[in-house]
Amino acid sequence: MSEHISRAFEEELRTLDTKIAQMGGLAEQALSRAIDALNHHDPELAETTLANDRAIDRLERVIEDLTISIIGRRQPVAGDLRQLITALRIAGHLERIGDLAKNIAKRAIAVAVEQHPKHLMLGFTHIGETALRQLKDVLDAYSQRDAAKARRVWQQDEEIDAMYNSLYRELLTTMMEEPAHVGLYSHLLFCAKNLERIGDHATNIAETTYYLIHGTVLAEERPTVDNTSFARLTVPSKS
């Protein structure tokens, strides 16, 4: 518990923390529901997710207003100033995560009627759960001011990137083998990319949290193994 001359200031900072945690909870739930909607062919659940995205956007505006008003009125320094700046950044990242989850839900509605190939969906569940775990861990790290946990999340982004690589190849191969269902596989490809982006946002939140606690930036180059941007795939020519 920190010491402040003004108890009201302390209260305001705690309210900010609470609002970030609340927004984090909404983002976690949006992601979890979007993945379920995709896996269980559940358009209704997807619709609920789309509707709840408004709450996330609203909270971001509330957090922005609150942060700016605190900066204006209290003119904080050092750790307090870092807390306000990081609150703004994290709210931004959470809002993007909410949008990406919304996008997955939209695509879940689009592919609900089609049969998903089992081997692909197992891979999806895996990458989805990993992204969800990263998000939960990083939000816990922020709430509990745990720099070690934030660092671990930052390092584990490799896992999601590797899984995305693997899914990308698998999807492209499947697209070549079954061109009739290429629409379905395109949607799945975008969903996989969204999950990878969510993982990146979680990593950014981790970096921001580390900065909040220590005042210094995580120095090393972030480990990343996503090389799909460089991948070249040769389509066998039809004879």
Binding site: I5, A21, Q29, S32, K118, G123, H126, D140, S166
Partner: protein
Amino acid sequence: MLNPEKGQGFSHTPHTASLLSPSANAARKRSFDARLQLRLDRVWNHLWVRRWLIVLSALIFMGLSATYGIPWYACTLALAAFALGAALIPRGGLPLLALTRAPADAGSEAIDVAKILIDALPDPAIVLDRAGTILLFNGKAGDLFESLKPGFHISRVLRNPQVLDALTECGSKLPTQTAIFSEKVPFERHMAATVSFLRFPREPRNSAILLVLHDLTEQRRLDQLRADFIANASHEIKTPLTSILGFIETLRGAARQDEAARERFLAIMAQQAERMARLIDSLMSLSRVEMRAHLKPQDPVQIAELVAEARHALEPMAAEAEIHVEVRSQLNSVTVLGDKDELTQVFLNLIHNAIKYGRPGGRVVVDVNRIVNGSAPKISIAIEDDGPGIAVQHLPRLTERFYRIPGSSALEKGGTGLGLAIVKHVVNRHRGELRISSQEGIGSKFTVILAEHKADRDGAA
């Protein structure tokens, strides 16, 4: 019992200073502002406690002044002196004053009773103030949420939107609400959170919220598992079954008289049938582990024993594959809290894989070590082989059910595709970690990391 060392106990938020004993945790207050507030609270409490004494003396004095004509300013001065005198009487007071029992005393009695009551509840329970700040909680809640501490807002450990909304709406108009929520990570859990409004009748300003969590996971799992099992099994069992039916057709028809063909086909059919049996066994193991994923294992087991058992069971297979299995361990006795059968299965599966996918004449090394860095010592069991290794893009997918590396000989070697999925689930259940590393052409290493259990430390476990 609430353990002050673990941070269970009273809150020191100013809102509830009069609800809880003001002297508790006073030493932790470092802010001058808060200390001043606390002193003012204390003075007010003293006066409030002795309010009847003050009123009585005021009436007597007014009576006297009316009778004997003492001027108003003298009365005020005398009244102030009386109030000061009353305030200076120590807490608990003189025996005569015991009749005016302090509401704060009654309050802290209520808190003592609350402590005892929630500790006796079968479910995790947390008492919060109206704003959502944690006041106190029982041992089960402390187990459920690792970083639960009084004085912090509940959103520090629990972020589910439905539960937070229920807490905000909780009040005299909506005294009880239940919110059902689920978590997928780190393992699947379904909970029902009941939020109740508590009002203390003698202190209308003070109210609190009781949050009780009830675990619904077992129930949900039973339903889901049945559906999952059928979905999983049907796909994987269909293939060998189709092939057996095909051979039966052939034996009944074209190959009826063909002695050599019959022998060959019967061998293949037996192989496929055995594969189906193994698959069903693995699926049942997996189901069983999944059912219990949310329950932490409680029995102490000896790692060295289990590893030796697994190795012994696989001796014949290792001999046939001409692979030498070596167990290295610097530690005499290593104990973890776990399920003996499940952990043996883990080592069996990992060593079995190492032998199966190793190169003939190669080596499999099982290394048991203690890792000490930071809070708690951990045990690592690493199974390393010098086989052909696994390409890096497959590593994150290895623990998925039925994942087969495309183009490998896994299918012919009779794998069920579930071995590593079972390992992953068991390690998760034991709140441990599974690390996989491999280099093509050099070999693979599978490491299981578990928290060590020190028997003498956890006497009161």
